[in-house]
Amino acid sequence: MPTSLVESDTILAIDIGAATTRAILFDVVDGRYRFVAAGQSTSTATAPLRDVSEGVRRAIENLQDVTGRILLDTEHHLIVPSQSDGSGIDVFSATISAGPPIKTVVTGLLSDVSLESMLRLARTTYSRVVEVLGMNDKRKPEQQLDSILRHQPDLILIAGGAEGGASRSVEKILEIIGLACFLVPASKRPIILYAGNSELAEEVQEALKAHSFSLHMSPNVRPSLDVEDLDPAQRILAGLIGEVRRRQMAGIEELNTWSGGTLIPTAYGQGRMIRFLSQVYDSGKGLLGLDAGLSAVSLASAFNGKLSMGVYPHLGLGESLAGLLRHTSLDDITRWLPIDVPVDVVRDYIFQKAIYPTTIPAAVESLAVEQALTRQVLHLAVQAMKPTISAEVPVLKAGQLPVYEPILAAGSAITSAPTLGQSLLILLDALQPVGITTIVLDQNNLAAALGAAAVHNSLLPVQVLESGAFLTLAAVVSPISNARYSAPILNARLILDDGHEAKAEVRQGSLEVLPLPVGQSAKLQLSPIGRTDVGLGPGRGGSVRVTGGALGVIIDARGRPLQLPTDPVRRRELMKKWLWTVGG
């Protein structure tokens, strides 16, 4: 790790997504680390190649074309370290989100203690829980055994017992797991992570080491009944995902070697970055990162360095769409459509997209359906994550999203929308933020890359963030009010540093835009009417400094929760009007 910029590193970060593999280059420019360029290529993790290295090579070659820098030698090997002629790199980091959801068996003792903690742990990565074994499971041991064998899990998470607590019940579970692993051919045995009573560690080793593909130990996720500590297990689990993927696709081993054994899941890299930012931004609010990808929707919520994560593979915008209608209805999807699209067309699009996940909307109708799907999966992910968000994150209204500042959004469905107004509306409709926040777009998927590269270089994330590599979309004020529709609820006055002013009388149900050029700072005076709460307390006004985004300052007074008209014609007209308001 460099101790000064005199020994600066050229850093190449690779992200392997379900559809796209990205090669991202960071280097020192004018004495500070900056995001230089990104290259991309179609991912080759799936058939016919099932080898990620081809996609990685093509992405690096694309990066070479973009930058004019030589990074690969004549034999297509990375040039390490960087040379005096500017070729080569010094540090390589990699993240991965490609691959099918990891079939996971979760075991613990009490359903509302260790089992619940392990389920939360499983939800922090790209896993699909296929079986849950607890102390109160009424099935016979052989039925539990058969269920595990039927599901052929890739990963087994075992918890149970506070420190110094129950051991007999854990031993029974270990017997079943050991038998199940024994019956499976050696090459297909699952990876096992034990995160329970540390006094049983030796017993676990004895029972399972010979019968698992690999056995890993972690500090207890539940050291006592009222204390949960997922961080150490989450860190180890992130490393195990790479091990699972190594068994599923070629090329991962090589990437892991290049990165010095630090290949991590994309969601974990993003979570790391969000946690770091929550310590840097001392705003008294939480910080939210999200990624609406093909593999999964992932959310990372952090407050003062405490991170909560949720990764939802069943809500991914790729192959997982085939099962989306098990979690939501077509009505809940079509309510987001600004144009009239027959329900059958929407259903067909969902299944076609599941079969061909890399397709891009090529017509107004398919774009509308794609964006409606994005809203709905994000909305579902937020609802699923809310119970796990730390109680320390301030909340303005029960049942609504806690107060976050900023909100960092990634995922092509959002960042590659034809207009920034569409990107913003997707986020405002799906997340329904409250109070005062800033919406930032991560157009190059840098957050995860920075989170992975931070292991090698701690200066890099700080300086890249300060360099404006992310696009500030808008400063958003979302007041909460019980006033009737169209009643005035807020007066807003934006005073620029050069003295120019913009004013708005905000009515309930409206969406207002106050122009503020990108990068310019201004004072925003908010005068709530009645008991309207803009995040400063019910009825309390005040002044805040805001920085202009690409779309200025947005006041979203459409209500929280957002209530859409039940009449489809009226609803579509309203959505078109909102879209027009933010620039189309």
């Binding site: 016979k140 052989e142 058969d146 038998l179 019956l183 051919p185 397709t359 891009i360 590659s416």
Partner: protein, 130 residues
């Protein structure tokens, strides 16, 4: 986002690997021509297991139970076969509840694999075995 690209290639050889999900038997030979519906490999797929608690059945310690076992791992057992039995005038007996195969024995327990069915792997595409 990247637009998907389709390649159309003439005179192309497609190689497809067909794998059994568990140990089994390959039924074809090298260079044999197969059609999509031909069965090229088969295996025995066990869907159920039965765990016999010999310790409880015989009322003896685990080590003694293991000594009294009449079958070992891999043995086929038929329904009602005596798995283990104590000696004496009134012996206690543990019998196999169904036809099956012993897949694990020890620690005072026996795991039987029962109710298996055949698994057939078909070629899926016409071609030549390489």
């Amino acid at each position: 986002m990247l637009a998907p690209v389709t390649h159309i290639l003439a005179l192309t050889t497609i190689l497809r690997e067909r794998l059994l999900p568990m140990n089994g038997r390959v039924l074809v030979r090298l260079n044999q021509k197969v059609s999509p519906l031909d069965v090229i490999a088969e295996a025995r797929l066990s869907r159920e297991h039965v765990l016999l608690d010999i310790v409880r059945g015989l009322g003896v310690p685990p080590a003694a139970a293991d000594r009294l076992l009449r079958f070992k791992t891999g043995d086929e057992v038929s329904k009602d076969a005596v798995i283990a039995q104590t000696s004496g005038l009134l012996p206690r007996i543990v019998r196999a509840p169904q036809d099956g195969r012993v897949v694990a024995a020890g620690g005072g327990q026996v795991l039987l694999e029962v109710g298996d069915s055949g698994f057939e792997l078909r070629a899926g595409i016409p071609g030549t075995v390489t």
